[in-house]
Symmetry: C2
Subunit: 313 residues, 2 copies
C-alpha cells in the first residue's frame, strides 16, 4: 500500500494525517499530547495510539517534536531557506515498533533572532498549493506564537514572531483584566480593541491594556465583552507592530495560514488596518508534510515528483 | 493620645502605619491580606488584627479597599483633581468595633480613560514632601500597574497606567519564556532587555518578546538571565511607550515613588533612555495618608495645618 502518515506535533497537541498514495488525507486524528503533555509511555505510546489500526506507512513529523526538548532534535536551518535546505536537514529516529520516524527541522532567523518549528512545513504546503507565490509572497500564520513570514525566490527569507495568542491566554486566565469573566461573542468589542491598538500609534497597545479595566468600570464595556476587546487589542497590536516594522513588503497581500476561525479574526483585523489579504490556505501542515515526503523520497507524488525543477519554495 | 492609623490596602497586601501626633511613623505592619486575599472574618478581622494593641486612633485607608469590590466604594474623582476635591470625596464606614474607617477615593482620567487607587495618596504625599513640585512636576510610580502622572497647579492633571509588573509576573510564571526557569541577578541582562525595547522603535517590544526564547536557544542568553532580560524588556517598553506618548512633559525630570529596589530598576532603565530623574520619594503612602488626615481634620498636623493656603496639591 502506498501513502504516508504525517504528524503535526506541537507543544500542546498532536495531529496525525493518513494520506493515500495520491496525497489525499483519508483520516485525521487529534490528541492533546503535545511534547509538554505526553501520555504515560511518552512519545512511543503517543505514536502507537495515534496511528493504531493504520497501515504501516512511512512516517514524517514536524513541529516541536524536533526541538531540543523533543523526541529527537532536528537542528534549525538558517534563513534564507528553500525546500532543498529544509529537506536535507530532515532527521530520522528508529521507534520501538522497528519503523522510522522522520522529523522536519525548524527555521532560524539569524538576524532578528527568531525561530519557528512546524510553520516552515505549513509555509512549504501553502506555497506548494499556490505555485505563483514561490517567487514572492507574504504570509501570516496566526496562533499562540503568530508568525509573519516572507518568501522570495523559492525560499523563506524572513519572519517575525508575535506572542499574541499566548499573551491573550495569560491575560484572559490570570490577569486582573480577564480572570473570572464570563465570555460572550462580540464582534463590536473585538473591532473596538483592534481600533484602540491601531490608534495607539508609536505608543503601542501595551499603553492601552489597563484601559480595558477603566472602560469596564465606567460601564463603557460590558464584562462579557472584555475577552473579545482584549483579543482585538492584542491582534491589533500585532498588525500595528508588523506594519510599523515594514511588514508585509510593499504591494504584497499576505495569505493567511491557520485555523479558519482564527484566520477570520485576522481577516477582520486586517480590514480595520486597510490591509488587503490573499485568501487563507487550509490544511497547510498536511500539504507541507506531503510535499516534504515527496521531496525526500518517502512517497512518490505522481502529480509532483520530487525531482521536478519547478518544485515551489 | 494624638495620632493616626493609616492603611495602604491594596489588591494583594495590607500595610498599616501608626503615626504619633507629629506625623512620625512609630510602627509599620504588613499582612498578605489584600481585598482579594482576606483572612477568615474578612475586612473586620483583617483590620482588628493589623491594629491589635495599637491605641484607638482615627483611621484612614487608601487603595483598592475603596473600590467597587472593596469594603466600601469611594467613587473615583475626575481629573484634574487637587487635594480639596480628593478630600471632599473621602468616605466613612462604621466598623464592628464601633469606630470609623475613612477611605480615600481613587482618581479617574476621563479622557484616556484610566483609573488609580492608592497612587493618588502617594502623589499627595510626594508633593507634600516636595512643595516646589506642586506647581508642575512629573512622577513615575513603578509597580504591578505602573503609573506615569503629571501634576500642574496643585492638581493631578493626567496619568497613564502600564501593566508592566503584572505582565512580568504572568510571563515569568506561566509563559513559554519564563516558566520553570531558575533566576540569577543579572544587571547586564536587564540592560540588554531595556535596550532591545528602546531600539524596537515604533514596532514596540511585543515584537521582541519571543526573541527571548530564540536568544536562549542559541546560547546568547543563559536561562538564568531570562527573568532579568524580560524585566528589562517590559520596563523598557514602558519607557519607550511613555516617551512616544509625550511623557514626561518637556523639561520635567520625573520623580520616582515606590519600593527602593524597583525604583532602582527604573532609575537604570531611565539612564539607558537618557532620561534624567529627580530623586525617589520613600514612604509616599504614609506621607499622603498623614496629609489627607490633616486636611479632613482627623489629626492636627502642627507643622502643616489643614487650613494653610499653601498646602500642596
Amino acid at each position: 500500500m502506498d501513502g504516508l502518515i504525517g504528524l503535526d506535533w506541537g507543544t500542546t497537541r498532536l495531529r496525525a494525517y493518513r494520506f493515500d498514495g495520491a496525497g489525499r488525507v483519508q483520516d485525521t486524528r487529534t490528541r492533546p499530547w503535545g511534547i509538554r503533555s505526553l501520555p504515560a509511555g511518552g512519545y512511543e505510546a503517543a505514536l502507537a495510539d495515534v496511528t493504531a489500526g493504520w497501515p504501516a506507512l512511512p512516517r514524517l513529523a514536524c513541529g516541536m517534536v524536533g526541538s531540543r526538548g523533543g523526541w529527537l532534535e532536528a537542528p534549525y536551518v538558517d534563513l534564507p531557506a528553500g525546500a532543498d535546505a529544509l529537506c536535507a536537514a530532515v532527521r530520522r529516529l528508529r521507534a520501538a515498533d522497528g519503523m522510522d520516524l522522520h522529523i522536519v527541522p525548524g527555521l532560524r532567523n539569524p538576524t532578528a533572532p527568531d525561530v519557528m518549528r512546524g510553520e516552515e512545513t505549513q509555509l512549504l504546503g501553502a506555497v506548494a498549493q499556490r505555485p505563483a507565490s514561490a517567487a514572492r509572497s507574504a504570509w501570516i500564520l496566526p496562533g499562540t506564537h503568530s508568525k509573519w513570514a516572507t518568501v522570495e525566490g523559492r525560499a523563506v527569507t524572513g519572519f517575525r514572531t508575535y506572542l499574541t495568542g499566548e499573551l491573550y491566554a495569560l491575560l484572559r486566565e490570570h490577569s486582573i483584566l480577564g480572570a473570572g469573566i464570563a465570555e460572550a461573542v462580540s464582534p463590536a468589542a473585538f473591532a473596538r480593541g483592534v481600533d484602540a491598538a491601531r490608534d495607539s500609534g508609536a505608543q503601542g497597545a501595551t499603553s492601552r491594556l489597563f484601559a480595558t479595566r477603566a472602560l469596564m468600570l465606567e460601564g463603557a464595556l460590558a464584562p462579557a465583552e472584555v475577552p473579545d476587546y482584549l483579543s482585538g487589542l492584542l491582534i491589533g497590536e500585532e498588525f500595528r507592530s508588523a506594519l510599523a516594522g515594514g511588514l508585509p513588503p510593499p504591494g504584497e497581500a499576505p495569505g493567511l495560514i491557520g485555523e479558519p476561525a482564527l484566520c477570520e479574526r485576522y481577516r477582520q483585523a486586517a480590514a480595520r488596518f486597510g490591509l488587503a489579504l490573499a485568501p487563507p490556505v487550509a490544511d497547510a501542515a498536511a500539504l507541507g508534510l506531503w510535499h516534504v515526503a515527496g521531496r525526500i523520497g518517502l512517497v512518490h507524488d505522481r502529480g509532483r515528483p520530487a525531482s521536478e525543477e519547478s518544485s515551489p519554495c
